[in-house]
Amino acid sequence: MTHQEAAPEPTGTAAAVAEPPLLDVRDLRVEFRTRDGVAKAVNGVSYHVARGQTLAVLGESGSGKSVTAQAVMGILDSPPGFLTGGEIVFQGRDLLTLRREERRRIRGAKMAMIFQDALSSLNPVLSVGAQLGEMFQVHEGVSRKEARARAVELMERVKIPAARERVGDYPHQFSGGMRQRIMIAMALALGPDLIIADEPTTALDVTVQAQVMDLLAELQRELTMGLILITHDLGVVADVADTIAVMYAGRIVETAPVHQLYKAPAHPYTRGLLDSIPRLDQKGRQLYAIKGMPPNLTAVPPGCPFHPRCPLVRDVCRTDPPPLYEVGPGRTSACHFWKETLDGAR
């Protein structure tokens, strides 16, 4: 995908033609050195996201979707994780060449992250007002009183009822949905250009999930931020994403604009995922099931990592890792047989 910014984009997505992307991740590699061997958690991942756009990174556990995000944010646990290659170009600068102090200034102020588990991401012994206000005190050097006022403003912005009365409350006094709103408020505090949300609604009930996703989408539109939504939920993705990157075993296997991906996937893994989810609007008897299970990252199969589970597997898949083929405008697929897949082969 690195070569794509130059190419004109005939699809009518919001991506500007001339403007460089907000974030451009190129050939990122992260490995975990464990006792059982080296796990290549991220193995040459490239994606980009523009202002006002939502990129969904879809994958199952162990696919490397969260590790990629941690590397981008610069919060990778190291050791055991090591960034071994690639570039993370944010607003024209490669973050990996910056000094630690500069990087820290960008993190939080220019890019922020929302985590899945709000309860363990918030400090239980500080009031939410103090935690929100701390952002302004540290990054902008405002007074404590001013910080508190700004915290109330933020809480109102994410629609927490009676914000003024609740600013002194502690995280455990809020419900799951309200805590996730506080996480969103914290991410928004310094007016970032990019938000990375890692499974932001997975821990929430459906009715609350709908509220939180709506809020996130609304704020993103209003503030024209870039949003990277990391999720395993094909339903949530369909609701909010502009483009989707599907990850499997540390690699991106397919990228496509959302409508095209659901209509005609170009990778057998994507097709398998779409076929295997039960649908609210359909009553079917037998669900399609992708056979086998995701590979152990210390022993990824040679060739295409998906080949042992793939219904279309042929000899070449067992030996030659497929490159990311350009299969259409803004679409890529890492499958030797993307054409057949696109035509509906299963």
């Binding site: 509220q211 339903g235 295997s276």
Partner: protein, 379 residues
């Protein structure tokens, strides 16, 4: 949830029970107890109530209130059927599961298995009943004892119910069970940590099947699994149901999975049932506002549905079950609520206006202002 217990909760000392006649083997068609093909339900739940007392004080405990986890739930489970219980966290669905398998004792109400109220049974009689109602837990990581081998985990029910399988035969039984759930019988000596989440869930299912129960209560059995593995386990559960004639109580928060696997669905909110019906009645013709809101909030994996969906966004959160609203429990979040909803709790019955309407809209719905509204776009 206990960290190690087998699907069958142990009740006191394992007294040798009466040898069960013809405890069938996996693979053969005869289920545990032969029954006439009557429409009679295998399980009847009537006005089930479970309140957990809230106490204050250390030495002198004083009850200051109660968490009304389950507050008057009634339903039937028929032979070979799958009944889904859906609801959001805190609605009491897991407590219902625990009550059904006897891990909790009801505060009031009845659970009748083959006509006999099991909540009043004890000792040998209770043990015999429990053999027929087994449970599969949500979390395949914490519901298997890490220090026991897979063979011991699946075979543990035989320790509690020795009459189910003679000692010499147990190992073979366990291996058969492993095969039935799609695992290699050679794995009997491995430990849980050597398996993936999906495989562990299969182990949990094998343990649930060990005693050849009639009823399996599955509490969120696929929620912790990845999409590609989830469909494997769902298909397995369906296959086992056909093969062994099982009845399932399938508890889940994922409405799409429930629609897929269930014949009938009960929607639960704050300790009570809001609506009960077949999958067609609930998903295509819901009449309770909560069901409608719940269904409309489920993200549909179809980006084209973004524009033409009828979304109902509920305000606020679920109230605390320790202090539920008077009357209809959903009224604090309901857009139709009127004074009457605060005064009179709507019973779960076919609403008066639909009693003479033929078709799927005629089903029990606990709402004073029940009204049909289609929220799921037809696929």
């Amino acid at each position: 949830m206990a960290h190690d217990d087998a699907g069958a909760p142990s009740s006191g000392t394992p007294a040798p029970g009466t040898p069960a006649p013809g405890a069938g083997q996996p693979g053969t068609s005869a289920p545990g107890t032969p029954a006439a093909d009557s429409p009679e339900p295998v399980l009847e739940v009537r006005d089930l109530v479970k309140h957990f007392p809230l106490t204050r004080g250390v030495l002198v405990k004083k009850q200051v209130g109660a968490v009304q986890a389950v507050d008057g739930v009634s339903f039937d489970l028929h032979r070979g059927e799958t009944l889904g219980i859906v609801g959001e966290s805190g609605c009491g669905k897991s407590t219902v599961a625990k009550l059904l398998v006897g891990l909790e004792h009801p505060t009031a109400g009845q659970i009748r298995y083959r006509g006999e109220d099991i909540s009043t049974l004890s000792g040998r009689a209770l043990k015999a009943v429990r053999r027929n109602i087994q449970m599969v837990f949500q979390d395949p990581y914490t519901s298997l004892n890490p220090r026991m081998t897979v063979g011991d985990i699946i075979g543990e029910p035989y320790e509690i119910h020795p009459e189910a399988a003679p000692k010499g035969e147990r190992r073979r039984r366990v291996q058969e069970l492993l095969e039935v759930v799609g695992l290699d019988p050679e794995y009997v000596n491995r430990y849980p940590h050597q398996f993936s989440g999906g495989q562990r869930q299969r182990i949990g299912i094998a343990r649930g099947l060990a005693l050849r129960p009639e009823i399996i209560v599955a509490d969120e059995p696929v929620s912790a699994l990845d999409v590609s593995v989830q469909s494997q386990v769902v298909n397995l559960l369906e296959r086992l149901q056909d093969e062994f004639g099982l009845s399932y109580v399938f508890i889940a928060h994922d409405l799409s999975v429930v629609r897929h696997i269930c014949d009938r669905v009960a929607v639960m909110y704050l300790g009570r049932l809001a609506e009960l019906g077949t999958d067609e009645q609930i998903y295509e013709h819901p009449t309770h506002p909560y069901t409608q809101a719940l269904l409309s909030a489920v993200p549909v994996p179809d980006p084209d549905a973004r524009t033409h969906r009828d979304r109902i966004l509920l305000a606020g959160d679920v109230p605390s079950p320790a202090n539920p609203p008077s009357g209809c429990r959903f009224r604090t979040r309901c857009w139709k609520a009127q004074d009457r909803c605060a005064e009179i709790s709507p019973p779960l019955e076919v609403p008066a206006e639909f009693r003479r309407t033929p078709g799927p809209v005629r089903h029990p719905s606990a709402c004073h202002f029940a009204e049909e509204r289609t929220v799921v776009p037809n696929g």
